[in-house]
Symmetry: D2
């Protein structure tokens, strides 16, 4: 049986060594270490990896890390909400987000045209620039065809960008599909609506895209889910693994608890009852802010996988 | 300045009297009492009321309460996720859900064909019956027309039902639109996909529905938001109020905290920075399990409104 | 198997009827209903009832309810922290606490001599008045004897008061001991220290009081624990039941989760591993703000017990 | 204004570099980075540093880290609960704790004599060995004198140990007082009680110890508080800084939220209203499991301080 071990700092300790030590420390550190181990296993065993995250994580600096993971081959399928994709596009086209505080004077921010997301802020101007660019892109896409599955649309948008740190760019370049089941739930939805007003035959086909995610993997293939935060991003990925026989590997990282019965707080164990993950799967649920739990667990996994030459060049 | 007041039990105390007393007790009780007051105000001032909730709340017995609120005129626009609508339909067609426990043996449940949602369970059989009925309905709808906005589709489905406790039924009957921005994120998505496989020209038009929610209210109209839980349901409603000049009234009830920057935990204050709610709006954020916070706060509001004859007969 | 049941509002619904209905609704409502049932059982079966709470609950209006419960015979042993006892004394001697907001300007409050506890406030003046009264009481007690067990000291203080809504008063009057294992952790600790400076032989004997709580019940007696919030109040009560063979009934109501391994979040299940509660005990853990979860669950229990004439007159 | 910066993994990244990067990532990562900065400042400016933690953290492998911090001069005053001190003693005398799971069969554990703390376990045997050793030590202490302030007692116990990783040992060796305001709230309380049964004149003087913590610092001295978790440990430290004019530096790391008005969730801002921390103090509140948030933030601080030769040899 694994023993609790006293943690001691050593000079210049690496993240990898810290996460290794945390495996003997207790509470959520144990789970974080286990999550890291599951990341390693899903890659080593060639699982198709679903990476899901919510918009606020793209507002944060995790955006570049997600893009890097796609490049390194650690994400084969992305599922997310549209807000994050909007912000990824904004950043890829020169917009910058600022660091503020959780205790802001929100009326004052509103007067200044500043929108708050926790302790981060986005200027109205960034949304206006986004609108300009997006309406031109929609025109070009419409000229290609009238009916678009969501993931195809997002790939085309990604191909218009040129930013190593962009999720849309890296996904398009590396043939990683991005699924976004609620594509209209953001500023982009408004632009799509305005465009359709003048182009009645323009259709965004969400039903078609259900087929696309369903066929993005199969019963025979091993499947791994990395669900950061809750929401439909998480649900859509595990619905897909459910319909494909269940995932062999699953890591849920969230601040939500199981006690309210919500999807955000639903555990990897609950997922077994549905067949979303297999009965004998490798699973971990880590409670904590994803902005640090995910980098820690994933960095250790990357170091291990890199030593064994299992990452893309 | 309002004083803290010692609470004392009196025999046969009503919910209304308890919630009135809680307004002097402290912490989340203060907020719950305030939420109740905002409910009263939004109705008295003829605001267009957006009611949003997540699927797990429909799994729970709140489903009948939501249906009742539609009937009473306390909800003019519904925004939710598709899982809840599936379960509303199941219950309306005779399926029953069971009460289990949070600490289940999920592998055993899986073997028995039982799916767990917190401490509630749904049998696989209910999903199979749902599939049968839904494929027939889709055929009928397809015969009417090929291209459907989501809320129109949901209204037609509601009209096929006959259950006072059904959200879909009451909404259809009372001309309350139901918006579901991620209509494919559930078993229903799978059925839509299968149907489209054989009916290539069948289209679910989510972009059109963005226009529908946008035009469901206006800048001139007063607007109130009741957001239960987080997810795209909450976001979609406040995106709509934002585009219509901001809500005058907003109550958020959730178990999520603002500290992770998520939409689920985003406060009514943060919403002011975006213009989702107006600077001088009446707002309340209540932290706690919606299965009891919402009935308590809403029951007091109903009693008050009923005394003034402001509810539908 | 218990079914989920749709909840419907009926005019003038009582708290009792609501809590009965919540037993069929789901998630934490199920647990809240169960907690209420455990309250009934522990009283019906003549268990010795430990009621524990943290100071902030006494700052709130629950204070009067706790006092009422002592009077009604629903609490045989109180365990709490000293802050709450200070505030109970303040209120019993005329001080009033105010309702503020969670988002205060704390620097401004500090300048005004106002201390904040969440969305409640206490004036510096109340602490000064407390000091005046307490130093006179300590002098009187010292004249009686030099060495005091904590619960004896608190009883004497309670006897100086005359307020139906006071915990100290009702406990003293009804021979309900109050245990406070960290008696010095508050303003009262400072006053004790100042007093001892001039009365070197004055001793507060915490070790003696451990014997008092230990002997306040026995292996043979049935025991019930109602732990509101976490902290040493909760731990001290269940340590006592552990040393007396374990409790037959236990309800934990808290906002803390089990995931961090803290005492505040420790569940009634975890308590079984220690023998703090018996293997076959009746238990419930309710997650939520105690200012409303506790009144709801307890009011229903009081109504049931009152009908069977099981409450003190 | 500080910008959000995309995070990118670099091979062999150190904890220090990660925490530096997290300062630009967002949400709790921002706060964690700030906490680290406050740790550096309190040491650089020669503040008297209060380190407080709850028992479960000593059950975990943080115990060795706390001991190391005392040795390095990063903690001048310790405040904690007695459970942690018992476990520190056990580990120092050869007992080992195991890693289990949050979802245990607690009845089975109980039968096996295994006590669970989250996902860690402690054997009954460890408690029995503790009892043997402690009764001998109490006898020796009693022979020295009859009346003991708590911190003096704990120092004597620390001097009997010889374990670099022990908090009691390092504290005794480095003249760092340990305050434990609820000394009887654990197995140790039971042993004290049994001992006093046969030695009636044995007194543990908690009032005297209030003076000791009060005089452990002064108005003139700069003060810093590192409060890990909530409970009386946190409260006792900030009560002491309040009585000494307020702390210049404060970091709260916890999983509790401010919404319930509890001490565990009380923020560094709320502390300003009381004068517990100064109006212009450097403060940070980090929400998350302390088993990883604290090592991360503190490791970066240690690396920075070590480069400037500000740690004890």
């Amino acid at each position: 049986m694994k023993k609790v071990r006293d943690f001691k700092w050593k000079k210049n300790i690496t993240v990898k060594d810290l996460v290794n030590e945390l495996g003997h420390v207790g509470f959520q550190s144990i789970e974080l270490n286990k999550a890291s181990e599951v990341f390693v296993k899903m890659k080593k065993n060639n699982a198709k990896i679903f990476l899901t995250f919510t918009s606020n994580m793209v507002t944060s600096g995790l955006r570049g890390f997600f893009a890097q993971l796609i490049k390194l081959g650690m994400a084969d399928i992305i599922v997310t909400t549209v807000g994050g994709l909007e912000e990824d596009f904004m950043k890829a086209t020169g917009e910058e987000f600022n660091i503020g505080t959780f205790n802001s004077d929100d009326v004052e921010l509103h007067e200044q045209g500043i929108n708050r997301v926790g302790n981060l802020t986005i200027n109205n101007e960034s949304y206006m620039n986004f609108e300009d660019k997006m309406s031109r892109i929609l025109q070009q896409l419409y000229e290609k065809k009238k009916r678009w599955a969501v993931s195809d649309l997002l790939k085309e948008i990604g191909l218009t960008l040129n930013d190593e740190n962009s999720i849309l760019y890296q996904a398009a370049k590396n043939n990683v599909p991005i699924f976004c089941p609620a594509i209209t739930d953001g500023a982009f939805g408004f632009h799509l609506y305005l465009f359709q007003q003048n182009h009645e035959d323009f259709v965004v086909d969400v039903v078609k895209d259900f087929g696309n995610i369903l066929l993005s993997t199969s019963h025979d293939e091993k499947k791994g889910v990395i669900a950061l935060g809750g929401s439909i991003s998480k649900h859509h990925a595990i619905l897909c693994t459910l319909l494909n026989g269940g995932a062999e590997y699953a890591v849920y990282m969230t601040t939500a608890h199981k006690t309210s019965g919500s999807m955000s707080g639903a555990t990897t164990n609950e997922a077994k009852s549905w067949g979303k993950v297999k009965d004998d799967s490798d699973i971990a649920t880590v409670i904590g802010d994803v902005t640090f739990t995910f980098p820690m667990a994933m960095i250790r996994a990357l170091e291990v996988l890199d030593e064994e030459d299992l990452l893309n060049a």
